[in-house]
Amino acid sequence: MRQGYSFNFGSRRSKIVPYLLLVPGLLFYLFVSFGPSIATAGYSFTDASGLLGSPLRWIGLDNYKEFLLLGANVRDNLDITLRTLLFSVLVTVFQTLFGLIAAVLLDMRLKFTNFYRTLYFMPIILGVTIVGLVWTLFFYPIGGPAQRFLGLFGAHSEFLGGSPSSVFYWIVWIQIWANMGVTMIIFLGGLQTVPAELREAARIDGASGWQVFRNVTFPLITPSLNTNVLLEIIGSLQAWQLFLVIKGPTNGLNVLGLWVYALAFGRQSNNPTSVAMRQGYGAAASMILFLLVLVIGMASQSLLSRRERRILG
């Protein structure tokens, strides 16, 4: 690690000034975000509720036992966990694929490239509420655009009245629609670092467009591929807000992040005294999600960096 530089601003006493000025930002972070994140582990061993003044008891591993082994909802919890994994796999695979295709095509610098890049990237600023409502309207069940459009292919959309499993796949699609722009931008950044001479040299040697991509471009953008895959895996495992806006907690459609919310705050958390709000149990579910993110995130990180070392040395 780099050694600290000498600090020599103003008088001797002023050496504490940087510390004093750092404190507000650091304290906000520690109290509002970092501390509560860590405290989730503690709460997961209690029977905390969201009611003010209710006693807090230490109940050891009971929440975990109920979630994983003994409770009436073990089967549902397993379904929810598997659905979270499925969501993550689908989003990661297809968002990477679509983002890569879009970036490679934009990198060809054809007509309207700037317009297309702006358009594909735009949903980033819309937020879950607008995105959720726009697509809910698009999937309007009685003669809505999606229904007519998909009807051309003999398919049908039953977004609002449909079964949870078909809604699930449409949420995968909407999640990708909303976030593909980030993937694309990161790939575009990577593509710009590939020297044009390398590609030209390969072409002169008689490589086809696909061969150039496969053997020259794609290996060289490994760092942006790794960044994208890791961001997508973590982001999609933790995702829940799009589910919240589009359907809210719904049997057969919940993912872990949404389930944590449902357990801790109830279906409609309009006031803190209205529902049971099992926050200790919710914290345990939150820790299970955390462990999934940790294990899967670290495993993919190590696989990806091993591949990067093999390719780029």
Partner: protein, 291 residues
């Protein structure tokens, strides 16, 4: 034509005849067709909102998809009146402005000494911010804390939750690393004091990164729905996202008015996006580099 539509449909693979089609049309034409198809996937849902917002209730019930034949703004007036828009938008603007201002000012004073290693344990402190995305959700203990501090259902409590953004710190630390240290040394030699140096020299120098941080943070606060759902049940305190969902809950079948309401939010955001696009893209690229 079928190539365009098929590649635009979700989950559909590019047809196997892609190679043959490419030879027939030339790779450039094929690429342009695919780009246009993706553009349709992005434009159609937005255009649907525009189309529905111009329709009368009867016309929508008759056929939601047909192109609006008249240009009527009645839905917009209706939405503005019924959705308590002025209250919600004022709230959203106030939350986004306050939180972003306080956050970005404190963030530079966190990021600068960490990046320069002017404080002990800089590496450790930076690590605290980097691990943020892996940590368990802070949702539940945060709620307990706010409840016990009496900050539930208060504007202060809500804004407090947005004075934090690890991504912004990472962007700033990375960027400050590229600002030459000779400037610090020159200022030290001149006997400039720390506060003045950061305020007068560092802030202007990191403007590009700061612009990204400000844009991303403000967008994040503006778009928040879940935190507002949990913490702000009182209607007078709700931001526009929450207000829109309340409106959706009450008038869920009245899509023509709802579409007008959505559009009134969408249009200013798209304009703002066009203006800030560069900073947003820079910010996302910088934030994704965490070494």
């Amino acid at each position: 034509m079928s190539t365009i539509l098929e590649s635009a449909a979700p989950g559909k693979r590019v047809p196997r005849s892609a190679g043959a089609t490419a030879r027939l049309l030339g790779p450039k034409t094929l690429a342009m067709l695919v780009l246009a198809a993706i553009a349709l996937v992005y434009l159609l849902p937005i255009l649907t909102v525009l189309n529905v917002s111009l329709k009368s209730r009867q016309a929508f019930d008759l056929n939601p998809t047909s192109i609006a034949t008249e240009f009527r703004l009645a839905n917009f007036a209706e939405a503005w009146k019924r959705a308590s828009f002025p209250v919600y938008i004022t709230n959203s603007l106030a939350y986004a402005a306050t939180a972003t201002l306080i956050y970005s000012a404190t963030a530079v004073f966190v990021a600068f000494p960490i990046s320069r290693k002017y404080v002990r344990g800089s590496g450790f402190l930076f690590g605290l911010f980097i691990v943020a995305m892996f940590l368990p959700s802070a949702l539940i203990p945060q709620f307990q804390m706010m409840l016990h501090l009496g900050l539930y259902n208060t504007r202060l409590g809500y804004v407090l939750l947005f004075l934090v953004d690890p991504m912004g710190i990472i962007i700033l630390v990375n960027y400050i690393g590229s600002v030459p240290r000779e400037l610090d040394e020159a200022a030290m030699m001149d006997g400039c004091d720390y506060v003045r140096y950061v305020a007068r020299v560092v802030f202007p120098l990191v403007k590009p990164a700061l612009a990204s941080v400000i844009a991303l943070h403000a967008i994040g606060v503006w778009n928040d729905y879940a935190t507002a759902l949990i913490y702000l049940p009182k209607k007078a305190f709700m931001p526009i996202t929450r207000g829109l969902m309340v409106f959706y809950g009450q008038y869920g079948n009245d899509w023509t008015t709802l579409a007008a309401a959505m559009l009134m939010l969408l249009i200013p955001m798209v304009i703002l996006f066009l203006a800030l696009q560069r900073w947003i893209i820079d910010g996302i690229l910088q934030g994704s580099l965490r070494g």
